[in-house]
Amino acid sequence: MAEKNTESKKKLVDFGKGLVKQAEKGENPAMDVPIRTLSNVNYSQKTGMLSLGTKSSKRFFFNVAHVRKFVQTAEVAALAKELLTVDKSLSLRQAFYAIRRTIAGTNIDIVDDQVESNKALEDLELITDISREQLHINANKLGSIAGNVIIKDRGIGGKEILIDWSKQGSGGWSIPSRVEHLEFKKVDAKFVIYMEKAAMWERLNEDEIWDKLNCIIISSQGQATRGIRRLLQRLSTEEKLPIYILTDFDPWGFYIYSVIKTGSISLAHASERLAVPSARFLGLTADDIEKYALKKHIIRFKDVDLKRIDEISKYAWFKDKKEWQKQFELMKQMKGKVELDALISRGISFVSEKYLPEKLKSKDFLD
């Protein structure tokens, strides 16, 4: 760890020295920031992952349109360097507060909201090629896990402790923001189900489905955090467990699946550490809605939803997949979404007793 810190810190210091040198030479100090938009993201059929292209833009200090972002990036870089020096971590929120201040005698804030500091950090990752976790800045932990797995974690004061995911009770084991140090000691579970709804997780946990089907159930709320995505990837690659995804039947749900599977656009540079190309989509599909008579639970789309369907269906990783295009087509025809929770209408434990076993048995997945 310490070695890695030193290496990262050197990168940061060199980055700063480069900028200072430009200033000393009378050149407009500039950072090379890779562009993080769809236009600079490539999807590889071979790896099944998104990767960042080579396009980058110069972020100048003496540019009316850049100066604010330039200073924000310099601020988070200086903060990260400090964190590495003292070997401590901050959350994204804390990092926001660490650099947030009003410039004396002005009404300019270095950052107005956390979105700005988060983006500055993502840019810093790209500029320095050091992951945010390595920069000692973490997201809030979020998400629960249960299953027949025993892992080794670090306790308070660095003492090693064993944790049994099957003995965590109604709340499950809460997934930390960094999962790099976890060791899988004993993995009996045969596959993993990730779901976008915490409420569904609680339902399945109460039904002890992880024991009945011998699987691992994981949830967060909405998009999977980097910690969860990394954990899913490790379970997939290190333990060879199949990963199944359960989301709402709407474009946002489909995108949650696609982020886990291929990576996200703005974090395309981190796909290799985060993406799980082998992940499969379990539901909800248009066929599920038909089969389990969920049509009466449709919530009408708004314009923004319909627009999002058009966007997502054109993404390279969905574009050539007939099965997915069919889903998008049916979704447009239905003009509305169906949430996971709609399954409860068929019976409180319908999901664990009927839906999941049937789907898994018939291997009714989308890829």
């Binding site: 980055f15 100066v67 200086a78 997201a139 974090l267 999002r308």
Partner: protein, 623 residues
Amino acid sequence: MADKGKTAEELAGKMRDISIAEFFEKNRHLLGFDNPAKALLMVVKEAVDNSLDAAEDARILPEIKVGVRVPREVFRVLLEDGTEFGRVTIENGNTVLTVGEEKTKPTEVKERDRERVFLFTLGETNYKFKIHRKEKEEVYEFVRGRTELKVSKIPADRFIVYVEDNGPGIVKENIPKVFGKLLYGSKFAGGKQGRGQQGIGISAALLYAQLTTGKPARIWSRISEKKPVYYYELRIDTTKNEPIILEEKALKEGIKEHGIRVELEIEGKYMQRFHSVEEYLKQTVVVNPFAKITYTDPEGNTTVIDRVVNELPAQSKSIKPHPHGVEMGMLERMSKLTISRTTSGFLTNDFCRVGPQTAEQVCKLAGIKPSSNPHELDHEKIERLWRTIKGFNFMKPPLDCLSPITEEKFSAGMKKMYKAEFIETVSRPTAVYRGSPFQIEVAIAYGGELPTNEPAKILRFANRVPLLYQAGSCATIKSIQKIDWRHYAIDTQGSMPFGPVVIAVHMASVWIPYVSEAKEAIDPYPEIIKEMRLALQEAARKLQRFLSGRRRAQEKKERQSLFEKYIPEAAEALAKLSDGDTANIKACLEKMLKKGNIIIETEEAKEEENKEEIETEAVDKDG
């Protein structure tokens, strides 16, 4: 000359034998004396116009004293229930208390610095009336016995107006006629750019005074230090249009070296702001920056507007009328008054741009013998002659007869009156409408202390005289409305400019086509509108350049200050990051900023932002 403007000419022709004065008595609105507020201003205007013209003709830098006094003050004393108890009248230093039918003079008058106290006794009761002056306001107090009663001053409806100049004065013999006879004087029939045109003005003012207050005009005149001051009290015999001399005497004092002083007592109404005497005088100085004007208002406050230019304008030249500039009525009258014996001689001698050959040609075309006596041309022949002239192609009139304000002096006048950030003046070359040469000059002032929350102030001038009434029908306003001021970065409200702007338009001409005899608005001939529009657009373009330059400078300053704010922050962050020295980095960045050319202004290389990025932001918010 406009059709509507024929009135005075025709008046002259048709009414002369009866009485122009009598006619005016019944139609005073025609000359602008239609209400008390306007009349007061007209009296000042006529006298000041004359003073300026006289001084200019005699090549004397004009120094004019104008004053408005209240000859009679009336105070109403009210009982508690609001009914009138009585009145106090102060007239020419005599104070009278009137209660019901009874009148009494004060038993004692005490005058102190800012205070006048009058004591009265009526029957058994003692009264005290006190006038106390506080700053610019007066406070009144009335005590009956021991009870205090309410007092209010009745707004003055009678004024003494006096105007005194340092012009050449008028010789003794001419004084009665100049002031006491309408249509007397050299100005009549035009021929030269001047303020007055008909020779009606000042005698009309006298007549107005006579009609409203019955008081005679008082005139002082001196033509040289070696001569006495001649003093006259005059009335006008309206049936004969002749002066009546009430008093005539030679004084040793009254006027310093030379000049005229006119004093008239008139019915009037004292206005503030737009149509005030003060505004009129201020505007006068804008276009006559070589004049010094002192004004004393009814409250005794004196304002001195000193001259900003010590040079008189070039003298305008007399020209004979151009054939295209005469109406039929005028042609007929000229034919009767001419000293020429032949019609071709009449055309050659009484008009410009008509040579003997041209005159013969015109006569032939009109079917009139060139040798026929012009006095004997009948109405039908005059009409044929006029129609021929109208269709004949004469040379343009000479263009060098006018005396413009000139850009430099106009600018100086504007600067004197308006504390603006920007002043631009434009003088157009001389142009011609209906045979009359004319020249348009405009000035635009912007910013500074000009009020930002009001419609732009529009100043209208004709031959250096401010026009205060009938703006809506004036060529100046119509041409301002033809311009889209927003093109020039000036706000508008309706079709008029809005904001800290003063727009002044001046027309100089031998013959200004007024909409009416009151000379309040310029007739919107297309040629005149066009010249005004071109002048305004040129000035507006300059203003626009100024404004965009100012905006750019402002933006540059803002950008500069943006980086000034960020440099200390950037220096500190970079120092921390690179283990460097904050002061050194700060100095480097500041040095670059000082050089100035390093700042990238455009948003080039701005990182692309599209829907995806906004979308994924939400996605990665937690991760």
